[in-house]
Amino acid sequence: MVRRVPIGDYGLIGDTRSAALVAPDGSIDWWCLPRFDDPPLFGRLVGGPESGWFSLGPAEDARVVGRCYRPDTVTLTTTWTVEGGELELADGLVAEVEGRFLPSTVLVRRLTARGRAVHARLHLAPRFGYDRHPARRTTRRAGALVCEHRDLAIAVTSDGPTVEADRSVDFDVRPGEPVTIALTAAYRSPLIVVPPAVASAELARDETGWRTWAAGIEVTNHRDAVARSLLTLQLLTYSPSGAPVAAPTTSLPERIGGDRNWDYRYAWPRDACIGIAAFLAAGKPQEARAFLAWLLHASRLSRPRLPVLFTVDGRPGPPEAELPGWPGYADSRPVRIGNGAARQHQLDGYGWVLDAAWLLTDAGHGLYGETWRVCAALADHVAATWTEPDAGIWEKRATPAHHVHSKLMAWLALDRAIRIAAARGDRRRRRQQRWTVARDALADDIRARGFDPVQRAYTAAYDSTELDAAVLMLPMIEFEQAASPRVVGTVDAIRGRLSAGGPLLYRYPPGTDGLAGGEGAFLPCSFWLVQALARTGRSDEAAALFDELVLLGGPLGLYGEEMDPSTGEHLGNYPQALTHAALVQAALALSATTTPADRELTRPC
């Protein structure tokens, strides 16, 4: 039985090349090295104790009294109270190492005692590769514990106890004498051993950088939630290429004990495009442009087809495989690596890309000629293929269908291509005419076959009566007037029939995806509902819904992909970039309809 820490209780730390999850007891239970999609050095989260962990915390009776990020940074602090004193653990990874004599990976863990000396315990159990092998060679060199296995090596330095591998070490932390542990890693390169004091100073320098970055966030409402979401999106962006990963984990279940366990450590163009919109609207155009640049570069080999997902260095997503012997989170098996959705055809992706390009154009960030040529080729592809069925946004592993959301996004792709062409003064009239004809034909098709007059709502697929929460995009894409009865009827129907209670929505009716068992409510859909309500003139309802959703976030303001409506437990891979991007967009939609500072929920720390 794997130790069960609620998914939403984990804190995220990262360096924009890899990310780790820290439990409230101070244990790092997930950290893939050297980058997001590599095997975990610490994989207890889904792999059981055989998969390694790194715990650091009190060795006496203690209670967690505070967990928070230092304001506008990604340094996580956990505070325990013990009889007559307190112990605080600060965790962080150093993100900015370029131009300095530092390894690519520097983990800093610093314990500080207050009131009295506190007895603490450290346990370091590194494992290497998906076969979870202990280090082939463990030595002590240059004042560091060095664990090596094939092409990966780690070095651990400490200004407190002497660290051993696979052995608990007890020690005292005295007030005024903090203890720092630094773990550095080297992949196919020489190890650079970093003294604890240097590592600690680098983390402090990094914090200044994060604060400076966060100071540029231009939002007025819900700033704490928006800033945490944008910082999380930044942490989930692989800086060497600019690729945003959907989540840093694999196989956190969409149902506890179920088999809906997927690997999200890859980059989806859809997420990148939603990120573009979120960053652009929050006053971060450079990050928005970087996402588009990554996307156009990564998709170069498959043009004009847009792959569903890429690895962080732009290669095709690896085939899906199961890890034998991995017990899974709370016995949720199998644990998978790779993602089978990579081979699907998803029409909606083109709409996200062209809409993102339009948002940049509309905001005055003109596209390069090459970028426009790629966008135009994507629009040509949509105009030629929109009549084909696709797998849809939810990546159901069933027969392709004519999904209404996909058709709406195809319409969006053509509409935005036409707008960009007009804004650029593009003179290729014949091509624009072709796009216009296809766009109008699509609109007629969607209205004829994708609308159910009985429910007065757009449906999930042509000639179907089921609903799909992805169609909540309708008021945002300007397919019809936001206040039209068809749009309002669709929003209301989805809200009513796909409700999972409170502010939560299922993405589609439970039990209709061909997989065994149900799943949780899909959190991005709730934020889309906020946007839809705001756009259809119901800003008070939208704001109230948003407030409820902010309170449903984890203790650190992080969100998974789904939530168990009965327990409020976060489900699915965590934290989820799509949810955080949707949160930012919802907050910005509210900003357009409510006055500044009229709603500010802050998370106590």
Partner: protein
């Protein structure tokens, strides 16, 4: 040393190499775009960068042609296959040594160590430029072998 032959056929061979690389790129075999990669040293706009990069690449090609010519002179023979062997070695050095060094010198190329402050526009190529597609090493080897063969044929005949 036949300077006129070096000037003309160095240009021909480099143009041929560039053409092979661009053709492979347009055919979807690789994302490696040498003119873009070199040109973004001077400008961020991809279209302008390609023009500058093509000129830079021609100049670099001329320099390498000088080494090929010196090699042929040292061996006192010049054959297409000898040029191809030189091209093979050239590609190996380019992929294993020169391209991986680029992130350290290129102002707009990220390194594998890039952090959130990075304002670069090109992702790092990685070993053998594999980040630009699995077929990239094959395409680069083919292009450089063609470059060497052209020089082997024409520098010998001139």
């Amino acid at each position: 040393m036949d300077w006129a032959g070096w000037a003309v056929f160095g240009l021909v061979a480099t143009t041929g190499l560039t053409a092979v690389m661009i053709a492979a790129q347009l055919a979807g075999h690789t994302r490696l775009d040498l003119p873009l990669m070199l040109g973004t040293i001077t400008t961020e706009d991809p279209d302008r960068a390609r023009v500058a990069g093509f000129a830079i690449h021609l100049a670099i090609g001329q320099v390498f042609a000088l080494f090929y010519a010196a090699g042929f002179a040292a061996l006192d023979r010049s054959e297409w296959w000898l040029g191809a062997v030189f091209g093979l070695a050239h590609a190996a050095v380019a992929l294993a040594v020169l391209v991986p060094l680029l992130p350290g010198a290129h102002p707009r190329m990220a390194s594998e160590r890039a952090g959130p402050d990075s304002t670069t526009v090109l992702e790092p190529p990685g070993l053998f430029a594999l980040n630009y597609g699995a077929a990239t090493p094959l395409v680069a080897v083919g292009a450089h072998v063609a470059y060497g063969a052209v020089l082997g044929i024409f520098l010998g005949s001139s």
